[in-house]
Symmetry: C3
Subunit: 355 residues, 3 copies
Amino acid sequence: MSSSANKTNSGNFLEDFTISLRINHATPRTLTDGDRTLYTALYPTRFALPSSDAFAVRCGLPRSPIEELAAFHVAFGKTVPDVSLNAVANLGYAELQFHRPIYPGDTLATESEVIGVKENSNGKTGVVWVRSTARLVEGDGSVPGPVAIDWVRWVMVKKRDPSAPAPQAVVPELSATVPPDALYVPAGLTFEEYDFTSAGEPHRWGDYEIGEKIDHVDGVTIEEAEHMLATRLWQNTAKVHFNAQAREDGKRLIYGGHVISLARALSFNGLANTQLIAAINAGSHANPCFAGDTVYAWSEVLDKAETGKPSVGALRLRLVAVKNAPAADFRAKGEDGKYLGDVLLDLDYWALTPM
Amino acid sequence: MSSSANKTNSGNFLEDFTISLRINHATPRTLTDGDRTLYTALYPTRFALPSSDAFAVRCGLPRSPIEELAAFHVAFGKTVPDVSLNAVANLGYAELQFHRPIYPGDTLATESEVIGVKENSNGKTGVVWVRSTARLVEGDGSVPGPVAIDWVRWVMVKKRDPSAPAPQAVVPELSATVPPDALYVPAGLTFEEYDFTSAGEPHRWGDYEIGEKIDHVDGVTIEEAEHMLATRLWQNTAKVHFNAQAREDGKRLIYGGHVISLARALSFNGLANTQLIAAINAGSHANPCFAGDTVYAWSEVLDKAETGKPSVGALRLRLVAVKNAPAADFRAKGEDGKYLGDVLLDLDYWALTPM
Amino acid sequence: MSSSANKTNSGNFLEDFTISLRINHATPRTLTDGDRTLYTALYPTRFALPSSDAFAVRCGLPRSPIEELAAFHVAFGKTVPDVSLNAVANLGYAELQFHRPIYPGDTLATESEVIGVKENSNGKTGVVWVRSTARLVEGDGSVPGPVAIDWVRWVMVKKRDPSAPAPQAVVPELSATVPPDALYVPAGLTFEEYDFTSAGEPHRWGDYEIGEKIDHVDGVTIEEAEHMLATRLWQNTAKVHFNAQAREDGKRLIYGGHVISLARALSFNGLANTQLIAAINAGSHANPCFAGDTVYAWSEVLDKAETGKPSVGALRLRLVAVKNAPAADFRAKGEDGKYLGDVLLDLDYWALTPM
C-alpha cells in the first residue's frame, strides 16, 4: 500500500512560471440556460439584453446571450488550479476584451501564456503576469475555436524554495485602457430599434457626462451559501472561498468576481442601458469581502467614445463597490491615496450603450 | 463633476398614481429549463405535471410547463420598481387568472393600469389598486403577444408630500372570487388518461368535500440564502428582502410570494392531484416571515365546480401557512377575527384536478 | 366540516413491506440543463465528461451527460415517501448499476420490489430490503422505457404496532461487489482520443496500483441552504433534512447523498480521469453530517479490471469522507473495527477510466 501525493495538484510556484510558458487549463465547460437562470438568482441583474430573447432579437442578436461576467468567471475559474492556487493576492487585471457574445450551448476552454515574472524583494514571493485566452470549443474540440475572451492578470505567488535564485525580471507593458477603436461590437448588434421602456431607463449615451457620478442606491447582504454556489459554478477551486479551516480567522474569503458581478448588477439602477460589457481596463480588489457584508456600489463616467456602429456608443465607467454603508458619499481612496477600509472593488470597464 | 440622483429610480408615490395611468414595466424575461430546475430546488414541489414531460404529454400538453407560481413571481417582480418600491404594505390580490401554461423559452413582460386610489385618513399614505397583465413576448416584441396572467393587487404607498391635497378617491369593485365558468382550462388539457400512481395520490375531485380540512404535515425551515436566491430569480427589487441594513431590526423580510410557493409545495401532501392553479381569488400576508422560521401549511376545500371539460374539475381551496408549530390545529384567526401572530398566509385559489 | 388525515401520506411501516410487494413511486421527473448547472453549483465537480459537450463528443457520446449521482439522487428521492419516510436509519446499498448515461431531457421514474424483511430483536423495528429500478419514461409514459439505474438498499423502519407478530424473516443474498464483467459501458464510449490535458490530470488506468491511497486535499464547509437546495432538487422528502423542529437537537441532518456527491467531487483532485461511475458496490453513512462541518475525502484503489472496450478500464475505488480535519491520515475505522466519530462515508464503487 502506498499513498500518492504525486497524483494531486499542488499548484505552481514562482519558479514554475517561465516566460512564454503556455498552459492549457483543464475542464472545458458548456454553458447552458441553467447558467443564465442561476446567474439571475445569484446577482440582482435586470439588464434586458441578457434577460429577454425578444429584446435581444430586437437588438439584432439571435437570442439572449449569457452575461459577459458569467462567461468570464467560468473562463477565469479554469486558470485558478494552474495560476493562482498558491497565490497570496490577485493583484490586477488589464486588457480584458469580450470578442463575441456567449450563448447557451457554447463550450469554453482557457489557455494562458506567462508574459511576466518578477521576484519580490523579500525573496519569498513574486509577481507573475499571464495572458489568458478563452476560446469556444466546437465539435469534438480538435480544432481551436474562435476567441471568446482574453485578458491579462497578475498575481503574487509563493516561491517553492525561498533560497532559489530569482528569475530574470520581465515586466510586460500593458495598456492603461483598451482603446475604444479596439472594442469588439458583436456582429449584428444594433440599437436602432432599442426599446428604452423595456430596458427600464430612458438615458442614452448622450445623456451621460464625463465626470458624472451615480449612486446605485441598493444594497445586498451576502450569505456564505450564495458566494460558494457562485464560485463553484465557475469551477473556481481556490481553497479560501470554501473551507472555513483554510484561514486562521475561520472566515471564508469571497471570490472577487462575486463582488464584481454583484456591483455590476446593482449598477442597473442608473446604468440600465449599459447592456454589454465590451472590455475591462483595470480592476482592483481593494479589501476582502466576507459573508454578512452588505454591498453597495457607485459609478463614475470616465470617458465616452463612438464605435463603428452609429447606434452603439461606448461608455468608460468606473464601478466602485463599498460595504456596510450606502455609497452616496462616492468614497474610494483616502487623502493618503490608499483605499479606505470599506472599499471592496475599483473596476474600470467599457460598456456598449444606445446612442 | 456632478452626481446624478436623477438617473436612478426612486419609485412612485401616491401622487404619481393617477386613475387610468398605464405603466409598461421594465425587463422582459425569458424563462428556461433553468427556472424549472431552480424552482424545484427552492420549494419542495412534487406535482407531477410541472415535473415530468411524459406526465404532461399524457395530460394533452406538449411538454411539462413551468409552475404557475414561478411565472407569476416573474411577472409580479416586474411591477415592483414602479408600483411598490415605496410600499408600506402589500394589502391584497384579487382576480388573478392564469390564461395559459408557460413553457421554457417563453418570454414574459408586464404592464399595469391604475384602477383605484384612496388617501388614508393620516394624510401620509394611501392605497393604490393596479390591474397588471403579463403577456408573452414573441419575435422581437414589436407585436403584443397573448395574455399569460392578469391580476389586481392593492398596496399602501407613501405620499411624496404629505401636505399635497388628497386625490379623488376611486375604489374599484372587485370580484370576491373568480367565477368557475371564467377559469381558463389550457387548450388540449385532459385528465382522461390521468396516471394517479405517478401523481402520488388516488384522490379525485369527487373525493374532496366542501369544508374538508387537510393538514399538510411537513415543515420547512427557511434560510436567508434561499429566499434571496428566489426573490432575485423573480427580479424583485424590494430592498427589505436583500438588505439587512434596510430595516431597523436588521432583519430581511421574506418576500410573500416565497411563502406562497412554499405553502403550495407543502400542500402536495394531501392535494397531489391539484395539478394546475387556474386562478387566485384572494390572498393576505397575515404576518411577516423571517429566516429561521419553520413553515407549515393546511388547506380547506371552499368550493367545487365543473369546468367545460368532462375530465377536469376545479377545487376552490384555502391555503393557510403558519410558522414554528405544526398546522394540525388548522389555526388562522383568533376570536377577535384577527389573524394569530404565527399565521403567515391566507390564500384562496382555484386548482384544476382530475374528476 | 371534517379533517382528513387519511388524504396525506404517513409512509409505510415494517408490517406494510411484504415480500415481492411492488411499488410504483410517484412523481416522474424530467432532468434538464438546469440540473446539470445546479449540480455544478452545489458540488465542486470538475470532471470533464459531464462538464463539456465537446469532451463528451470526443469520447463517443452525443453530448455531455448529467452526472450519474445527480440521476441517482433523483431516482432515489422517489423511493423515500414509500420506503424510508419512517426509517430509523439508512443501512446500506448494494448492486447499484448505471445502465446508460442520462441526458438533459430524459425523464426518470422509479419502481421498487421488497426482497427482504427481518424484525429486530427489540420488536419495535426491523430491516427492509428493496430492489429499486429507475427507468426512462418516454412519450406519454404508457410503455415502460429502458432501465437507467437499479440498486438494492436496506433501511431500518419502525413497526406500526410493536405487539404485532414478526413477519417471517427473509434476508436476500447480495453480491459484495458488482463483478467487472457485468459493468455497463455506455454504447459508443471510447477513450481512444481521450484528451488528458482538458481532463486535468495525466494518470491513466495503468498508473493506479491496487492499495494506493490518495488524499484529495481540499475541504468544503457545508451550509444549511446548500444541502436543502440539493435535497429538494432530488425531491427527497425526509423531514429530518428540512425541518429544524423535527429532531430534538434542533439540527437538520444532511442527506447522505449530499455527502456522497461532495466527496466524489473532491476526489477529482487525484482521480480526474475516473469520468463515469459504473456501479456502487456498497456504501455506509458512518456518522451524521451537519451544516458547519468541513468535509474532506480520501480514496483507495481496491481493484482494477478491464472492460470489453480496449480503451476503457475500470477502477474499483473506496471513497471515504471525513470531517473537520484533513484526510491526509486516511482514517476510517478504529482498532475496535468501528468507524471513528468523524468519518461520514465509506463508499465502494467502480469508475470507468482511460487505459
